[in-house]
Structures are given as structure tokens and as C-alpha cells.
């Protein structure tokens, strides 16, 4: 495993060098050199210029993620448990996902105002689906012997759900959460593309308007960092939660 880190860093350095070389032959407007981007990033961080934007986007991500994945989990359970609801609601779920949020942005602004709410709503909407789908699937494929056991124990639907279906489906549900967490980053940024003057998304738009590509890339770096942090956080909490599920997992 130490090897991985070494190779990882090596690969990263090689990629940076290739990028540096490629960008040398190109206008900074199109593809800035990584050195320039890192300097811009560093400057933005040390002068505190980026801080309010980061904080804003981060809080939108976290709030949207919390609301969206909670609702996705909840509706996933409802739809997984009640086939009636599944068939009834599924067209609306698909509609909420297949419609590009960017197109609805003006509506969102009208409904939820220019503030954080509309961004949080967009983020939540985007996180919602992977968790929903994975929850529905995961709680449906439970070992039939175990389900029989719970029936024999006279477990109510609620008890079976809580003590069997959810624990047994946890790996799948966590996979959904990992997808959601990364989509949340995009969600918040897309939300900020319209109707925002604070936040990393607004900064991307502003930097595009001023054709300040290095700044834009610095923001993209930041977003990747945020995505990675959140993903790793889910991974760690999964390791903790799923300690006992390693039974089926590769050694």
C-alpha cells in the first residue's frame, strides 16, 4: 500500500509535467500551465479572496447533500417497501432528474429567491436520485432465508426494514451515497451558475466573463479537492459502519 502512494504521486507528477509542456504551446486563456494555476490558487487562498466563496459553496453542498440524500434514502425506502408508491411516483422522480436544472434555474430563482435556498434545492435534487435508486434496489434484494427468519420472529414491516433490510443493504446504499456526494459538488456549482454572486460557481462564471482562465482552473482544482474530501469522508464512515460486512468483501 505504501507503493500505491509512491506510484500515485509519480503519476501525478508525470501528468503535471505533461500538462505544463502542453500548456506551454497554448494560450493561457485556453489552458493555463499548472504552475500558474497553483500560484493563482495559492494567492487566492492566502489573500483570503477565495475563502468566502469556498465557505458558501461548501455550506450549500453540505446542506443540499444532507437534505437530498436523506430524502433520497427516505423515498427510496418508501418506494422500495411499497410497490404502489414506486409505480406512482417514479415518473415524477425521473422528470426531476431528466430535466436539466440549468434550464429550470430561472424558475428556481422565482420560487426560491436569489439566496442560498435555490442552490441548496438544486444540490438536493441532484443528490437525491443515486441514493433513491440504490436504496430501492438494496432493500429489495435481501436474502430470503433471513426474511423468513424475520417473519417467524413476528417482526413488523418496520422492524424488518430497520433491522434487516437496511443493514443488509448498507453496502449498496453507501455506494449511492458516494455517487451523491460527488454529484453534490456539481449540483452546488451549477446552482451558482445562475443567480449567484458568491460561491465557487459564481466565481467560475465571473472568471469566464473576465477570461481569467487560471482563476477558473484554480476553482476547478478546489472543487476536485472538495469532492475528494467528501468522498473519502463517506469511505471512512463506511469502513466504520460496515466493519461487520467485510464478510463478503475481498480480503
Amino acid at each position: 500500500m505504501r507503493n500505491v502512494r509512491v506510484y500515485g504521486i509519480l503519476l501525478f507528477i508525470v501528468l503535471l509535467i505533461v500538462w505544463e509542456l502542453v500548456s506551454g504551446a497554448m494560450s493561457e486563456l485556453v489552458l493555463p500551465a499548472p504552475s500558474v494555476v497553483v500560484m493563482t490558487l495559492w494567492e487566492g487562498l492566502t489573500t483570503g479572496y477565495l475563502l468566502p466563496h469556498i465557505l458558501r459553496t461548501l455550506s450549500e453542498i453540505l446542506m443540499g447533500l444532507m437534505i437530498g440524500s436523506f430524502l433520497g434514502f427516505l423515498v427510496g425506502i418508501l418506494m422500495g417497501e411499497i410497490p404502489f408508491l414506486r409505480r406512482l411516483l417514479f415518473p415524477y422522480v425521473i422528470a426531476s432528474q431528466a430535466v436539466p436544472k440549468l434550464a429550470l434555474a430561472p424558475m428556481f430563482i422565482l420560487w426560491f429567491g436569489f439566496g442560498m435556498t435555490s442552490k441548496v434545492v438544486i444540490t438536493a435534487l441532484i443528490c437525491f436520485f443515486p441514493l433513491l435508486e440504490n436504496t430501492v434496489t438494496s432493500i429489495q434484494y435481501t436474502d430470503s432465508n433471513k426474511r423468513e427468519l424475520f417473519r417467524v420472529l413476528g417482526a413488523t414491516r418496520w422492524q424488518t426494514l430497520l433491522q434487516l433490510k437496511i443493514p443488509a443493504g448498507l453496502p449498496g446504499i453507501m455506494a449511492g451515497l458516494r455517487v451523491a456526494v460527488v454529484l453534490a459538488v456539481v449540483g452546488a456549482v451549477v446552482g451558482e451558475f445562475i443567480g449567484g454572486s458568491v460561491g465557487l460557481g459564481a466565481l467560475i462564471i465571473a472568471s469566464q466573463g473576465m477570461m481569467d482562465t487560471p482563476l477558473m482552473f484554480a476553482v476547478l482544482f478546489l472543487l476536485t479537492g472538495i469532492g475528494m474530501l467528501l468522498y473519502q469522508f463517506v469511505n471512512l464512515s463506511e469502513k466504520y459502519l460496515l466493519k461487520r460486512y467485510t464478510k463478503g468483501k475481498n480480503q
Binding site: 423468513e148 417467524v152 420472529l153 413476528g154 422492524q159 461487520r244 464478510k247
Partner: protein, 248 residues
């Protein structure tokens, strides 16, 4: 009416082919009945019907005069495979029937520990199921079925994965417990002498029907020596011959 009454029950997983045809059976309070029969003859299916896990196509099952439509919580069930929850350790698996409803209290935890001790797994209380041997897993499942002092026990080959000695110990323990708590038992086994040793009555199944019914009139208190007595062996042979289709 008997404590548990299976009344002309017919059942098939697919409509066309009935697996159980027109089976009737009665178990009185505190009685120990065994079900013998060749592999695939429908023992497990009958047990599931009797417990309400499956519902008969025709006929009905009555428990204390009430028609059974779904499993009752006063019933303990040991499945043919142990079916433990791999994310709970041994003691938590034993306590599962209780934790389903509420946090177990001191007394219930004591009961769980007592049962674990009974099945010889005290030292494994914090192990997880995958760290247990096959026989150890089935013993945990037995302890789990006993935790709530069931008035009726369904056991599907509970001792199949156990060695002769552990098996005999557990047979005696089970008999003692059931007599103490007046538990009725419907017990599936492939071991004829086990059936005779444990039961007040032995039923022999074949192709979905009960073809033979043997009341066992040995002294209620069974002892190890009985196993080597002539009357005991006579009964075993009797069943054995019925099973292989020979007339006695």
C-alpha cells in the same frame, strides 16, 4: 381441540404439483412430536405450513383453536440452515427476537447467557457468525429459538451438524427444558433413534403424506441407557422398516 391442529392441509409451491396432500396432525400441550421422512418428502414444507410461514391451499392450521395465518411470536423456529445475521455477534444474534421489539433487560441477557452456556458456546459470545464452525452456528440458532420461552417449537434438523456427544447432551437438555416449560415441539430429523428418544409420537412422511404414526410409550423421563434397551431398538427398527417400505 388439540394445542396445535393441522387439519387436512394441502399445499403446492406451484399450483399444479401439490407437495403436501391432505395432511392432518395433532399435537397436545407439552408433547414432543417428530417428523421423519426421506429427503424432499415435504417435512420442511409441513413445518412452514404449521408455523404459518406458508399458507395452505386447502385445509387449515389451528393453534390454541385459532386459525394460523401468519407466524405467532409465541413460537420458536429453528431453520434447516442456521440463518444468523452476520453483522451481529453471537449474543446479539441470540437476543435478536427480543431486540426486535425492545432493548433487552438484565434478565433476558441472563437467559441468553444461560442458553449459550447450554449449547456450549459461552466463550464465543462476542464472536461473529463467520468465525464459527458449522455446528457452532446451528447451536446459536437453537439458543435463539429458545430465548423467548416459546410455548411451541418447530425444529428442522437442528442437530444435523453436531457430533454424537454434543447431540446427545443437547437432546437431554432440550427434553428437560421442554418438560420444564411445557413446550410443545414439532421436530424434524433424519436420525430415527433421535426421533424415538425424544418423542411422544413419531410421524413418518412420504411424498407429502403422513403414512405412519407411531406413539412412543417409553418412560417419560429418558435416560442414556434407554438407547441400548431392546424396546428402544425395536421401535427404531419398526420405523426403519416402514421407511424402506417393508411391512413388519
Amino acid at each position: 381441540m388439540a394445542f396445535l391442529e393441522i387439519d387436512q392441509v394441502t399445499f403446492g409451491y406451484k399450483r399444479e404439483t401439490p407437495i403436501i396432500t391432505d395432511v392432518s396432525w395433532k399435537i397436545n400441550k407439552g408433547e414432543f412430536h417428530s417428523l421423519l421422512g426421506r429427503s424432499g418428502c415435504g417435512k420442511t414444507t409441513l413445518l412452514k405450513l404449521a408455523s404459518g410461514l406458508l399458507n395452505p391451499v386447502e385445509g387449515a392450521v389451528y393453534l390454541q383453536k385459532k386459525k394460523v395465518v401468519k407466524p405467532s411470536t409465541a413460537v420458536g423456529f429453528v431453520f434447516q440452515s442456521p440463518t444468523l445475521l452476520e453483522w451481529k455477534n453471537v449474543i446479539d444474534n441470540v437476543l435478536l427476537p427480543i431486540t426486535l421489539q425492545k432493548k433487552p433487560n438484565k434478565e433476558e441477557i441472563n437467559r441468553a447467557e444461560y442458553l449459550l452456556d447450554l449449547v456450549g458456546l459461552s466463550s464465543y459470545r462476542s464472536c461473529y457468525p463467520e468465525e464459527l464452525s458449522g455446528g457452532q452456528q446451528s447451536r446459536v440458532a437453537i439458543a435463539r429459538a429458545l430465548i423467548k420461552y416459546p410455548t411451541l417449537l418447530f425444529m428442522d434438523e437442528p442437530f444435523a451438524a453436531l457430533d454424537a456427544i454434543t447431540r446427545e447432551e443437547l437432546q437431554d437438555d432440550l427434553l428437560r427444558l421442554c418438560q420444564m416449560e411445557k413446550t410443545s415441539v414439532l421436530f424434524v430429523t433424519h436420525d430415527i433413534s433421535e426421533a424415538i428418544y425424544l418423542s411422544d409420537q413419531v410421524a413418518l412422511m412420504e411424498a407429502g403424506k403422513i403414512i405412519y404414526n407411531l406413539p412412543v410409550d417409553l418412560p417419560k423421563h429418558r435416560t442414556a441407557e434407554m438407547r441400548y434397551q431392546h424396546s428402544f431398538n425395536e421401535l427404531c427398527l419398526n420405523v426403519r422398516q416402514k421407511m424402506s417400505g417393508q411391512e413388519i
